[in-house]
């Protein structure tokens, strides 16, 4: 079977810093990683390949340096990597991104074989939208299976797949057809350590690099800023509350006194709270 995994290289967001004066993101020197949610998708894809045979193609759209994330994916054991990179993609919102990626996946299908399953992570840690997966599914007319916790069965002959999907208040078991798009839930598997051979060869493997034209994208008005219906008009830091927290002075007090003092302060501000707090007899 042919499995395509769409990943994104993201800044390690815990380390993002904001310029104190201009309120812009300071990207210089910020390390990048494969979006952590995408690793669950990649691992699941590798497991399917190991169980059913076939190939895993990883795809990413981004600047030339996004190649790093593809090499990491090759190191984990992906069979092929495709980098979609072009200045026409700059400024893409989720709609324009799903357009470009779906065109590239169609091209991957023509070139390397039609995918049976396309995977994405649940969402990215920098955008947090969870919209690109459903966008790709809709554009390629793939059956959309989001928040998948487990792939229960795949019947390649019957082209059927059964998955467990997290939904509000529980888990659905869904039966659908291949080809489908799966967004994989976090914590559902654990990324393997790649084999020594894969780790060693990842650095020198050929990566397929496509521009918009090479990926078969003719309509550039659907790409990048021009193809993005949403416009970011303002980026700003949240305003601080006018007053800072009232500090309880800790000098020369026992923890017990401090705790009592805090509780008095809480109930002075919220008198209605005290009768509501439970006592469990501990």
């Amino acid at each position: 079977m042919h499995i395509v995994v769409s990943i994104k290289q993201v800044p390690d967001s815990a380390q993002i810093r904001v310029h104190p004066v201009t309120n812009t993101i300071m990207r210089q020197g910020v390390p990048t990683i494969i979006n952590p949610y995408d690793l669950f998708a990649l691992e699941e894809a590798l497991r399917l390949r190991d169980a059913y045979g076939g190939e895993v193609t990883v795809l990413t759209m981004g600047p030339p340096m996004a190649e790093d994330s593809l090499r990491k994916a090759l190191g984990y054991g992906a069979d092929r990597a495709v980098l979609l990179t072009d200045r026409y993609f700059a400024g893409s919102d989720t709609l324009a991104t799903s357009f470009a990626l779906s065109q590239a996946i169609a091209k991957i299908g023509e070139t390397f074989g039609t995918p049976d399953v396309v995977f994405t992570g649940k969402q990215t840690i920098d955008g947090d939208t969870a919209q690109v997966g459903p966008g790709i599914a809709k554009r390629l007319d793939l059956h959309q299976l989001t928040y998948v916790a487990k792939i229960a069965t795949i019947d390649l002959a019957a082209r059927e797949i059964t998955v467990e999907r997290r939904c509000e208040g529980g888990t659905q078991t869904l039966k659908s057809k291949l080809p489908c798009l799966i967004t994989m839930l976090e914590g559902t598997n654990e990324m393997r350590r790649g084999s020594i051979e894969d780790a060693l060869s990842a650095a020198r493997r050929q990566i397929v690099k496509w521009s918009a034209a090479e990926a078969g994208i003719e309509d550039l008005t659907k790409c990048g800023l021009r193809g993005s219906p949403t416009v970011v008009k303002r980026v700003f830091a949240p305003t601080a509350r006018s007053e800072k927290a009232a500090q309880i002075d800790t000098a020369e007090k026992t923890l017990r006194d401090l705790a009592d003092e805090l509780i008095v302060a809480i109930f002075t501000r919220q008198p209605a709270l005290e009768p509501e707090l439970a006592f469990d007899g501990a």
Partner: protein
Amino acid sequence: MSNATPDTPRPPAGRAGMKKELPERFRAYRHVWVFIELERGQVHSVSFELLGEGRKLADKLGVQLAGVVLGPPEEATQNAVAQAFAYGADLVYFVEAPLLADYRNEPFTKAMTDLVDTYKPEILLLGATTLGRDLAGSVATTLLTGLTADCTELDVDADGSLAATRPTFGGSLLCTIYTLNYRPQMATVRPRVMPMPQRADRAIGRVIVHKLSLAEDEIVTKILGFLPDSQSGTANLAYADVVVAGGLGLGGAENLQLVKSLARAIGAEFGCSRPLVQKGWMPADRQIGQTGKTIRPKLYIAAGISGAIQHRVGVEAADLIVAINTDPNAPIFDFAHLGIVTDAVRFLPALTEAFTRRLSPHSRDKLAS
């Protein structure tokens, strides 16, 4: 994003969206819609919260607020219609079909896009639940319009455009996003981000019934089963009155026990900040913040949490925020109401014990006498 010349219009070249010039085909789009999320007979509270927010937007625009109810032919679906009116809708768009009994992407996307194409709303709001996100992404892509996820603030501009504000870059900054030249303008909002409006029961108003032009054999995906969550209590975290949470300042996973003990002593729910989930110290459904749960408790106690923006947006609607942190410059003290600069690992047991002393029936009797 320079602030130097805020009043100078940007050049339209190359940036189609920056220039507001609504194409002719979108000019008839009017009114604000809220998707009423109905699952297993219950309307999700986020739908009421969105009706409250939608009411404000509709009033500012001088247009109507509509609820969109998609469901099976059951009493619960009728109840959802009544509830939409009770929480502020002027009218309801209603699609009733057995296919809509449990959520599946295909029939819901079809029903929603058909409604939008037929009745043309300018704004469409959905809850950022697993259901709402699954649906919103498909609907926006089908309609080829803009969708802004996880908004924390919604407003309309002087020219009537929806200004959707959300945290960005992993929650380090906020940004305001517009969908200027496309309709509808779509946005999702997480549960508990907006306040719950007052319910005011009244007669059912105008209901516009629309037929779903789809048959079961046209739908590929079938539901084989549903397993409800066991009552682990996490479902209550977003709606709890009192919440205690721990952060990296606790030092180690074993110290989360201190958070849980305090929570148990005062009948609170417990949670954590994002790094703890990333470290695997707590499951993701206990995470509080932009990418986790948004909470609006009466009392929130944050122990060893520094207060990054992505955490802040998830808790700042709490009535009273108490922060315990060793770093006097931690950002959490910028939005907490009460602060103690001390080591949470040492302080939490003392606080638990003090609460227990104060709240025990014995001491309550003494207070009463």
